[in-house]
Amino acid sequence: MSAVLVPTVRIQRQDFDVAAEIAGLTQGRADIGAVVTFSGMCRDEQGALSALELEHYPGMAEAEIERIATEATERWQLQGLTVIHRHGKIAPGENIVLVVAASAHRQAAFEAADFLMDYLKSRAPFWKKEHRADGSEGGWVEAKETDAEAARRWKQPPSE
């Protein structure tokens, strides 16, 4: 067994560069055969939204994502894992979240990235508030039962 992978987790206001984050995991490595990235972006909801404001719980946001990321490294054979989540005001078309999972083979990378996003949605302490394009008061985005359902499916142990 190689040394235990320590995931990189960053909570930040500023944008991130997807290509640079992939390069950061893979440069100089010959043991990585697969990299899966997921980028979550802000939609404008057919022109209705001017921005999303992401509130977070400083300290716990990092700690909770680190717990989720560490669980992913225990469940799948990963060679690298980076998770970045932005907070503050984010305009349509901008990045919100990034997961980069690197492994020897694609299945572990796909599954780990999918798991990370499902758990982030229901356990990472972030809340989205809408800013509406017409200037009217936007509401808090409601949590979806489908997201909670998606997270629960990982309770089954992974297939061998």
Binding site: Y57, I96, R123, P125, W127
Partner: protein
């Protein structure tokens, strides 16, 4: 013992402050007791916590359920279901 209560999103807006330090009565043993007790503190609290089942709680920055004992908690956060990602 003083406990710091922290509120987020619409829980924060309805209570009208981001955080406060409180002296919890000894009878408050669990998260459920705390949510019930807070509702007696005014209209904003009642509005925020009228459906306690939907309120998510973290003690010392870790998720807990409403049966969790709160003795020794330095920091208790109350918030709506999360919508990150």
């Amino acid at each position: 013992m003083t406990t710091r209560l922290i509120y987020f999103a619409w829980v924060r807006e309805r209570i009208g402050m981001p955080e406060e330090d409180v002296e919890l009565p000894a009878a408050i043993e669990t998260v459920a007791d705390l949510l019930h007790w807070l509702q007696s503190r005014g209209e904003g609290y009642q509005h925020a916590l009228q459906y306690p089942d939907v309120i998510r709680v973290a003690i010392n920055q870790e998720h807990v359920d409403h049966r969790e004992k709160i003795s020794g908690a330095r920091e208790i956060a109350l918030f709506p279901p999360m919508t990150g990602g």
